[in-house]
Symmetry: C2
């Protein structure tokens, strides 16, 4: 241990702070930008590119250039690198770093004989009037010793720029690249798990839809309407995302309702109606988890989307703001869609008639502000209605068991 | 920047490596142990305790003591700390560190007047014949400035032990505590997301069960049988976990089958049978995601659990090992359970009759090795059958819509 490391802020202490910042960033795209900007800051590089490995290719996922940003303005320089990709091969600086798992540090690219390594940069430089001199390419190696990408830093700035990147720059970038590799891996695993979770939730919605395909696109429309109403009510982005994720499950409890009631063409009698109403309780029991915000909201929506503003709804008879906002929103979206589309027990109402019923429900069935929001957003609402309209072919195909198409599973992107 | 940090391995370079190790560890309990052992190693401490904050209390979640381990043997020393908890208050070293968000560094606990802070350690020392002298308590503060726990290091070892923990020890532990705080937070978020995902998958199983409660505990039994068979077939732990998570969804496609067929008391006619068989395709379409290993396996099981070893099954007529192992296992578990329990269309067979049918199916319906495995594990199988038997009350309660109990959502543990 060397005593003088107790000084204010050594590069390695900075690296620890940067490592914490990287680890705190779960959003993959924000993380990639952060890795590159911190790397550039720590070694004082004018530009840099972050490549992620995809099989035998390295694809640029972040690029920054101070000189070009000053010349072209914010946001312009980054787009120059959008389609940049190089193979993992000895024929480029970054490809070589990925192939050999070794740092490639070139003080002056133009001084290299044959310029094989420089070809890639030369084309870029010619096109954009930039001069790439010093290049430092550092492989990002995860704890399983896999190269997951390459961090490329370009043109050392400051008094040492003629000498290119030094030994300390190399060691700092190597340490940062290792931290970045783990952070990227974690962010990917989290994204994958999030997607798996979203797909499992989607499975619940699809399952509900299978029970009642006469309302095939009902789930999509209600979700879209809910999103429009949520936005109009000023829900913050996070809540709006949750609402859009949770709304498709509002009727999942219908899985538990017998066909004879669910598909009855006529009006339900008193006992049938009571059984139908239990879909709110069944739905809440299916979504019986407080383990995530989306599951909690989905449960609330399933349970309370038949409550009414004046307290005359079911299953609890909640009134006004005692009904969770998400459920108030879905209540209006759900009824609006039921009125404006055909069901097995009724034809669609004319648009004017639908609006009349909705207006009459303000303060009784629905929160008045929500009715106002719907009326103010009719343009968007009609777009959704038309975009996701039920076609006769789809209605005919409902329960065509002889022609079920087996879908290929969605493959994972990362 | 100081040039001599290019030396072989400064404490801060070690910290970067430790930070990467922490970040790579997603299992919370392994992570807590790692944090403590790395902290002890880096500052050369004889003992240490890691506390996690739960409201107004700090609860010990990891404890290590070299001296007591040498005296008592591996595993014994840790149990001494099992129930250790201290309030966040000025009355203990760790409580004080959590309260003030400041490091508490005491070279000799016994030299302190009044011994208010020493009370907690004194009781422990008396009971276990240990002498706590130097104590270093470092708050673990996450990037949102929340104290999520305290890292306590006890008794400096080596030549500097009389002086207790020094300035460098304090700075190293602080840096490590910050990294640990983020790693713990991430591991918790991941655990929470995993649980949400598991619960969403569970929702799919419960949903299927709601359609067909005559087989109320069927899902649980099939899952348990599948686990027994998977273990007997030598599946590695990871695969076995997946199998147990994925099996409950094997019949999720029955959601799409009309009541008139699903609940028909007699034998199905040809057309009804063909519709019933589509539950494999419907199930696969509901579980249509490659985003996680469990979803992929669940899809395979749903799709192929009615294939037969000799190729005479459905929906694809796959033969032998072309059928995924998970589906072969669930096929046997599913049929065994159907034979040994009552269904709406038949009584349960006697155990001897069930075994006779299963034996006859070896090489035809079932993989022979799986039949052998089932026969070799009959004791466990019968335990499961008895433990999760359908009771008459439960069968009677099926679709008792007047008495649906609304379950409280499971709350999150972390």
């Amino acid at each position: 241990m060397t005593g003088n490391e107790t000084g204010a802020s050594s590069p390695f202490q900075q690296l620890i702070r940067v490592g914490i910042a990287l680890t705190s960033t779960q959003d993959l795209s924000a993380l990639l930008t952060l890795i590159l900007s911190e790397a550039r800051r720590m070694v004082d590089a004018d530009a840099g590119t972050l490549y992620v490995r995809e099989g035998a290719m390295l694809r640029a996922v972040a690029a920054q250039c101070r000189t070009l940003t000053e010349r072209l303005g914010d946001g312009k320089a980054e787009t120059l690198f959008d389609s940049l990709a190089v193979p993992v091969s000895p024929n480029s600086v970054c490809g070589s770093a990925a192939l050999t798992k070794e740092v490639v540090n070139i003080p002056d690219l133009h001084a290299i004989e044959g310029a094989r390594l420089a070809a890639c940069s030369a084309a870029f430089d010619r096109e954009h009037g930039y001069t790439t001199r010093a290049v430092l390419a550092v492989p990002m190696i995860d704890p399983e010793d896999e190269v997951i990408g390459v961090l490329q830093l370009i043109n050392k700035r400051g008094p040492l720029q003629q000498a290119g990147f030094g030994e300390l720059d190399v060691r700092i970038s190597l340490a940062l690249a290792s931290q970045a590799a783990v952070a990227i891996r974690n962010a990917r695993l989290t994204a994958q798990l999030r997607r798996a979770h979203r797909d499992a939730l989607l499975g619940l919605s699809i399952a509900a839809e299978w029970r009642d395909r006469a309302t095939a696109k009902h789930i999509t429309r209600v979700t879209e309407y809910a999103g429009i109403l949520g936005l109009a009510m000023g829900l913050p982005d996070g809540e709006l995302d949750l609402l859009v994720q949770a709304s498709p499950m509002h009727d999942v409890g219908k899985l538990g309702i017998p066909d004879a009631i669910l598909h009855k063409p006529g009006k339900l009698d008193e006992q049938e109606r009571r059984i139908m109403e239990t879909h709110t309780l069944i739905g809440a029991n299916i979504l019986n988890s407080g383990a995530s915000a989306v599951m909690r909201m989905a449960r609330q929506i399933a349970l309370y989307h038949h409550e009414k503003w004046d307290g005359s709804g079911y299953p609890k008879g909640l009134r006004g703001t005692a009904i969770p906002l998400c459920a108030r929103i879905v209540a209006l979206a759900d009824v609006y869609d039921a009125l404006s589309t055909r069901r097995c027990y009724k034809e669609a109402f004319a648009p004017e008639k639908v609006l009349e019923i909705v207006r009459q429900g303000a303060g009784a069935h629905f929160q008045p502000e929500l009715v106002d929001a719907l009326l103010a957003q009719l343009g968007r609402i009609y777009e959704i209605r038309d975009q996701f309209g039920d076609t006769q072919a789809e209605l005919d195909a409902f329960r065509d068991y002889a022609n079920i198409e087996l879908k290929e599973p969605d493959e994972d992107q990362y």
